[in-house]
C-alpha cells in the first residue's frame, strides 16, 4: 500500500470502501449461489417424495419388479448394514483412538499409524469395493453378503471414528489425568472413569457421522453385498441384501417404466435417515458444550 498525501485521504478512503462493498457483495452472492442448490435439492426431493410415503411404502415388500408396493427390504438391508458396520468399526475405532490419544509414544511407528489412517480416509469408495471383493467375498469366501459388505464399510468408516475419538480425548484437559493418577489410579482407570466419559459426546458425534456416510455409500457395497432383487428379507449375515443407496441407483437408471413417485419416495427415505442422523449429532454436540465441567 502506498503512502498518500493528506489531501488525497478522503478519496482513497471512499475508494477503499467501495472496493469493500463490491467485494462483500460478491462474496454474499457466492454464498447464496452455493447454499441455494442445497435448499433447492432438499425441498424438491421432499416435495416430490412425500406423495409416495405411506405406511405401506415403508413396511411392505415390493411388487411388480419394484414398480409398486413398498421398499421394506431396502430399508431393512440398510439397517442391517449399519448395525454390522457399527459392531466392528466402533470398538476397533475407539480402541485405536484411545491408543493414539493416551498410550502412543512419539516415535516413527506412531507416525506411520497416522499416515495409514490418513491414507485409509482418502481411499475412493469404489476402491474399497474392489478391496472388499478381493478380500472378503473371494479370499475369505464370505460371498456377496451382508458380512462382506459390512466389513468393507467398517474399514471405510474406521478413520473417521479413530480421528474423532482421538480428538475428543485430547480436548479433555491433561490435568485430570495427573489428578487421577496422583490419587492412586492406573492409566486405564483414569481414562475409563474420568477422561472417556467427558469425551463421549464428541466420540458419539463422530460415530454418528461416520455411520451416516456408511449408510449412504453405494460403491463399497456394489460388489460385496448389494443385490437388486430379494424375494424375502435377509435371514443371515451370509445373505446378500437390498440396500437403499443401491436401490436408488438401479431404479433411477435401469428400470424402464419406474414410477417417478416411487423413485422420489425412496430417495426421500434415505435423505430423511441421513438428516435425522445429522440432527442427532448436532443435538449431542450442543448439549455437551452446555454441560462442560471445566
Amino acid at each position: 500500500m502506498n503512502l498518500i498525501s493528506f489531501s488525497e485521504a478522503p478519496k482513497v478512503k471512499r475508494d477503499r470502501n467501495r472496493i469493500q462493498k463490491i467485494g462483500f457483495a460478491g462474496l454474499r452472492l457466492i454464498t447464496v449461489v452455493t447454499i441455494l442448490p442445497i435448499l433447492g435439492i432438499v425441498a424438491y426431493i421432499v416435495a416430490k417424495g412425500i406423495p409416495a410415503l405411506s405406511w405401506e411404502f415403508l413396511s411392505a415388500m415390493p411388487r411388480d419388479g419394484m414398480r409398486a408396493g413398498g421398499i421394506l427390504p431396502a430399508i431393512v438391508g440398510t439397517l442391517y448394514l449399519m448395525i454390522g458396520t457399527a459392531a466392528v468399526s466402533i470398538p476397533l475405532g475407539m480402541a485405536a483412538g484411545i491408543y493414539l490419544a493416551e498410550y502412543a509414544p512419539d516415535n516413527w511407528w506412531t507416525r506411520l499409524i497416522r499416515i495409514a489412517i490418513i491414507s485409509l480416509a482418502g481411499v475412493p469408495s469404489v476402491v474399497y469395493g474392489l478391496f472388499g471383493l478381493g478380500l472378503f467375498v473371494l479370499f475369505f469366501q464370505f460371498g456377496i453378503s451382508i458380512l462382506s459388505a459390512a466389513l468393507t464399510l467398517s474399514i471405510m468408516t474406521l478413520p473417521v471414528i479413530i480421528s474423532t475419538t482421538e480428538e475428543a480425548l485430547r480436548s479433555v484437559p491433561y490435568k485430570f489425568r495427573v489428578v487421577g493418577v496422583s490419587l492412586g489410579g492406573t492409566q486405564w482407570q483414569t481414562i475409563r472413569k474420568v477422561i472417556l466419559p467427558q469425551a463421549l459426546p464428541g466420540i458419539m458425534t463422530g460415530i454418528i457421522l461416520g455411520l451416516e456416510r456408511a449408510v449412504g455409500e453405494t460403491a463399497p457395497i456394489l460388489f460385496t453385498g448389494a443385490t437388486f432383487f430379494l424375494p424375502h428379507l435377509p435371514s443371515s449375515p451370509l445373505d446378500a441384501t437390498m440396500a437403499l443407496p443401491y436401490h436408488i441407483y438401479v431404479i433411477s437408471t435401469q428400470i424402464p417404466g419406474m414410477p417417478i413417485t416411487i423413485q422420489y419416495g425412496t430417495v426421500l427415505v434415505l435423505l430423511a435417515i441421513v438428516l435425522v442422523m445429522d440432527i442427532i449429532a448436532s443435538v449431542i454436540r450442543s448439549r455437551a458444550r452446555a454441560k462442560r465441567q471445566w
Partner: protein
C-alpha cells in the same frame, strides 16, 4: 484386576496399529488382482487410446482423461464457490447468519452421492440438454457440476478451519493501521491461511477424483479421449465409473477383471499422494505434557 487391565491395555495397543494392517491389506489385494493385468495385456495396449473391452481393447487413457476433465472442471466451479463461501462464513457473516449457514453446508456434506446423482439424472441433465441444445444431457459438464456440489462442503470446512487458525493478532495489527475489513482479509488473512487453503484444494481434488456414483449416473459413460473442446459437453467416462459399472459383469480372473483392479491401483496410488501431501500441509501442534499442574 491387574490382569484385566493388562488385557485391555494390550487390546488397545493392538487396535492402535490396526490401521497399518488395513492399508497394507488393501494394497496387497489390489496388487494381487491387478498386477496380472500387465501379464495379460501388453503395456502399450494398456495405455492406448481405446477402451473397448468387448473387443479386448483395454486402453485406459480415455478413462484417465475422463476423470481428469470432470475433476478439473469441477474444481473450477467448486474452488471459487467453496473458498468464497468459507470467507463469507468465517470472516464476514454476522453470528446468527453463521449459525444457520454452517449447518446447511453440513447438510450438503451428508447428502449421499447417489442422491445427488439421482437429482442429476432427473433434473440437471435434462436442464443441460435443453439449455445448451445438446443431443444428450449426460456429459462431462453435468458430472462436473455434481462433483462441485459434492466437494464444496469439504472445501468450505477445511478452508474455514484454515481461516480460523490465523491468529487474531494479525488482524488486529492490520486494523490498527487503518485497514478496511476487506483489505485485512485479502492482504493479511488469506496469505496467512495459504497452506490451509491449499490443503482444502487438495482434499477437494481428492474427493472429486474418487467419486463414483454421481459421475456414473450423469456422465454418459462413453470412454472417449478428450481431444476437442466439445468433448466437454459430450459423454465421458471416469476411472471410477468404469470399475463400478463393469465389475459386475466380468468373469473373475479374466483379463478384464485384472484391468479393472489395475485401474483401482492407479486410483489408490493417486489418493495416497493427495492425502499424504495434504496432511503434511496441515501440521497441527500436539497437546503436550508441558501444560501440567502447578
Amino acid at each position: 484386576m491387574k490382569k484385566t487391565e493388562k488385557l485391555i491395555t494390550n487390546t488397545i495397543r493392538i487396535a492402535g496399529s490396526s490401521s497399518i494392517l488395513f492399508v497394507m491389506l488393501i494394497f496387497i489385494f489390489l496388487l494381487k488382482e491387478g498386477l496380472p493385468a500387465l501379464q495379460d495385456i501388453s503395456f502399450s495396449t494398456l495405455f492406448s487410446k481405446r477402451w473397448y473391452p468387448i473387443e479386448d481393447m483395454y486402453g485406459i487413457l480415455p478413462l484417465i482423461s475422463g476423470s481428469l476433465i470432470v475433476t478439473i472442471f469441477s474444481m473450477v466451479i467448486a474452488l471459487p464457490l467453496g473458498i468464497g463461501t468459507a470467507i463469507y462464513i468465517g470472516e464476514i457473516a454476522p453470528h446468527n447468519v453463521k449459525e444457520i449457514l454452517k449447518p446447511m453446508v453440513e447438510v450438503l456434506a451428508g447428502i449421499p452421492s447417489v442422491v445427488l446423482g439421482f437429482i442429476g439424472v432427473l433434473v440437471l441433465s435434462p436442464l443441460v440438454r435443453t439449455t445448451l441444445n445438446l443431443p444428450t444431457g449426460l456429459t462431462a459438464l453435468t458430472g462436473s457440476i455434481l462433483l462441485a456440489l459434492i466437494s464444496i462442503p469439504t472445501i468450505v470446512s477445511i478452508a474455514e478451519d484454515a481461516l480460523y487458525a490465523v491468529p487474531g493478532s494479525y488482524r488486529e495489527a492490520a486494523y490498527a493501521v487503518g485497514a478496511t475489513q476487506w483489505q485485512v482479509i485479502w492482504y493479511i488473512v488469506l496469505p496467512a491461511a495459504r497452506s490451509g487453503i491449499l490443503n482444502a484444494v487438495m482434499l477437494g481434488v481428492g474427493r472429486s477424483l474418487g467419486e463414483t456414483m454421481a459421475v456414473m449416473m450423469v456422465t454418459g459413460n462413453a470412454p472417449t479421449l478428450f481431444s476437442r473442446l466439445e468433448a466437454f459437453v459430450s459423454p465421458v467416462r471416469t476411472m471410477t465409473a468404469t470399475i463400478a459399472s463393469e465389475m459386475g459383469e466380468v468373469a473373475s480372473g479374466s483379463a478384464h477383471y485384472h484391468v479393472l483392479f489395475f485401474i483401482g491401483i492407479i486410483l489408490f496410488l493417486f489418493s495416497l499422494v493427495v492425502n499424504i501431501t495434504s496432511s503434511s500441509l496441515s501440521m497441527r501442534p500436539k497437546r503436550g505434557k508441558d501444560q501440567v499442574v502447578s
